[in-house]
């Protein structure tokens, strides 16, 4: 028994070391980015790199002064929430159907949009949406971004649905439940953590995607990510402002992830159903 206890402690020690190591490697560049956002632009590229410096808010001030940051953020939010919602709405039932019937082609079809380079869609979509006068509308942006979120939702949820034993569904069918009822009442609660993961991923992908917004938005509906590009240009590369913009842009997904943590960890596991 002593061996087991020792081994246990060893393992926990090892895990902690790995955790710290991984954390340092993963977060160091992000920390650098956030710190740089509080440095004046020229100090971001100073050499040797400075860890100690007097922080300044000038980048954030400049950012909010020169770009309609809040309005861009709102646009991004509308488009991202819309496309994530659409992705979940269409994706959850589709993933369920694919998982149950083991007929995969619908999932592969939705992934097709992610197989082609994004630039393939630029001209045709511009032509399409221009014909119906929807350039610059939130709808066009939401629809185009949903083409990205849908496959993510489906493919992230597939293994979660696959992991539910068939017996659960068969039991429900014997009880005379319709398929949609089974999905809504039984399957979805079981894959809650999968839904949370797919929602976060869909949100992040849509939030950071600039290519479609480049041609489908106009001045009023421009998304936040376009603002990030504005700080890199001949005669105007403002590292500090870029880092500040980056920090602000990365905040909403991070906040969302932190909020959804609960479901990531404590989703009902199958253990509860093994009865």
């Amino acid at each position: 028994m002593i061996d087991a206890a020792n081994a246990d402690r060893w393992i926990r020690w090892l895990n902690t070391i790995q955790l710290v190591l991984a954390g340092a490697l993963i977060m160091a560049p992000t920390v650098w980015m956030v710190l740089s956002s509080f440095k004046p632009s020229f100090e971001v590229t100073a050499y040797p790199p400075t860890l100690v410096f007097s922080p300044t808010l000038e980048n954030y001030v400049e950012l909010t002064r020169t770009t309609p940051f809040l309005s861009y953020a709102l646009n991004s939010l509308i488009v991202t929430v819309g496309s994530t919602a659409l992705g979940l709405l269409f994706g959850i039932p589709a993933a369920f159907a694919v998982s149950w019937t083991r007929i995969t082609w619908p999932a592969i079809l939705t992934l097709a949009a992610r197989m082609a380079p994004g630039t393939l869609f630029l001209l045709p979509w511009y032509v399409m949406f221009r014909q119906i006068g929807m350039i610059g509308s939130y709808t066009a942006l939401i629809l185009s971004h949903a083409v990205i979120t849908l496959p993510i939702v489906i493919w992230v949820l597939l293994p979660s649905f696959d992991a539910i034993p068939r017996s659960v569904f068969e039991a429900a069918q014997v009880d005379g439940c319709s398929v949609s009822r089974i999905l809504w009442r039984i399957a979805m609660p079981l894959v809650a953590s999968g839904i949370a993961v797919s929602a976060i991923l869909a949100f992040v992908f849509s939030w950071n995607y600039f290519l479609f917004a480049l041609v489908l938005s106009n001045g009023d509906t421009k998304t936040l990510i376009a603002a990030a590009f504005n700080f890199i240009g001949e005669g105007s590369t403002q590292w500090g402002a870029l880092m500040a913009a980056a920090t602000l842009i990365a905040l909403p997904p991070l906040v969302l992830a932190a909020l959804v943590q609960r479901w990531l960890v404590s989703g009902l596991t199958l253990g509860a159903v093994k009865g």
């Binding site: 954390g23 992000t30 994004g118 489906i154 993961v197 939030w207 990030a228």
Partner: protein, 295 residues
């Protein structure tokens, strides 16, 4: 259940299933049908410098086959893909395990662990451009502090692809970890209990039990990463623009330049469709694998 009732329920079930996938399928088709057909059509045209367009049959495709740049681009794309995928899958699973056993970690810290992929690619590119600058960046500074030789990183024709793979892996390993973590959490604990009773070591448990059960999730992560890795664009666009020389000229970058900078839309369409076919092939292959490792 009588015999007459069973087939009715089955057909009814099939219909209901179809109704569940229909919205997603119809939506996708509605959105991508025109672009795909249009691009295929464009691939059969040539455009003169004055924009005059003429039917060219398979000319663009035969040009593609004899284009050294294309084959080089394909090689670069595949090399980058394999290198990145292996790194991300291996370290993704490792990170997922580490996070799984650190369940008492506060949510905020956990979300910081998965934060890199939340960063917009343009920002990640600019950031690493500075960090990896041979003269101005922290990377060489750190290397030299430890007495190690500095590297040209992104400016070296030999090391640019491994460096890009490292940058991408820094960003996307947490993404893989997140997906695998979801899979870990849905594993039935009963299996672990059985293993513990049998006195199996952690390594053995992982090897014999956890890993096989995780394979479907890992393959899913591989599929999701593959579609993005094979179309690698953002980081390279921001940092090296395909250089030095053509050392990081992936097919997507090449196709983009041909279309948007050299205005050869016909050839660019052919390139993009070929790339799509490559990705499609990879997805089909992985999907086979997914079926093979299902429980």
């Amino acid at each position: 259940m009588s015999d007459t009732a069973a087939p009715l329920t089955q057909d009814r079930q099939k219909l209901e299933m179809a109704a569940l996938s229909a919205p997603g399928v119809l939506f996708t088709v509605a959105m991508i049908a025109f672009p795909v057909v249009y691009t295929i059509w464009l691939g059969f045209q040539t455009f003169s410098s004055t924009g005059k367009q003429s039917f060219a049959g398979l000319a663009n495709y035969s040009k593609l086959i004899s284009d050294v740049e294309f084959w080089h681009g394909l090689w670069i794309t595949i090399a980058l893909f394999v290198l990145s995928l292996v790194l991300q899958l291996v370290f993704g699973v490792w990170l997922a395990l580490v996070l799984f056993h650190a369940r008492r970690l506060p949510g905020i810290v956990r979300s910081l662990f998965i934060s890199p992929f939340m960063m917009p690619p343009v920002v990640a590119g600019m950031m690493w451009l500075v960090i990896l600058d041979p003269s101005l960046g922290a990377a060489n500074y750190i290397l030299q502090s430890f007495g190690l030789p500095p590297s040209d990183w992104l400016a070296s024709p030999t090391w640019v692809i491994p460096t890009v793979a490292l940058i991408d892996s820094w960003q996307w390993t947490p993404y893989v970890a997140l997906i695998v973590l979801g899979g870990l959490q849905s594993l039935p604990p009963s299996v672990y209990e059985a293993a513990q009773i049998d006195g199996a070591s952690p390594l053995k448990t992982f090897q014999r039990i956890t890993l096989p059960l995780l394979l479907p999730t890992i393959v899913t992560a591989a599929i999701l990463r593959s579609v993005d890795l094979l179309r690698f664009f953002d980081i390279i666009y921001i940092t090296t623009q395909g250089g030095p020389g053509n050392a990081s000229n992936t097919l997507n970058i090449y196709g983009f330049r041909v279309g948007f900078e050299f205005f050869n839309i016909g050839y660019a369409s052919a390139l993009m469709l070929t790339l799509t076919a490559v990705v499609f092939g990879a997805v089909l292959a992985f999907n086979r694998l997914r079926g093979a490792v299902a429980w």
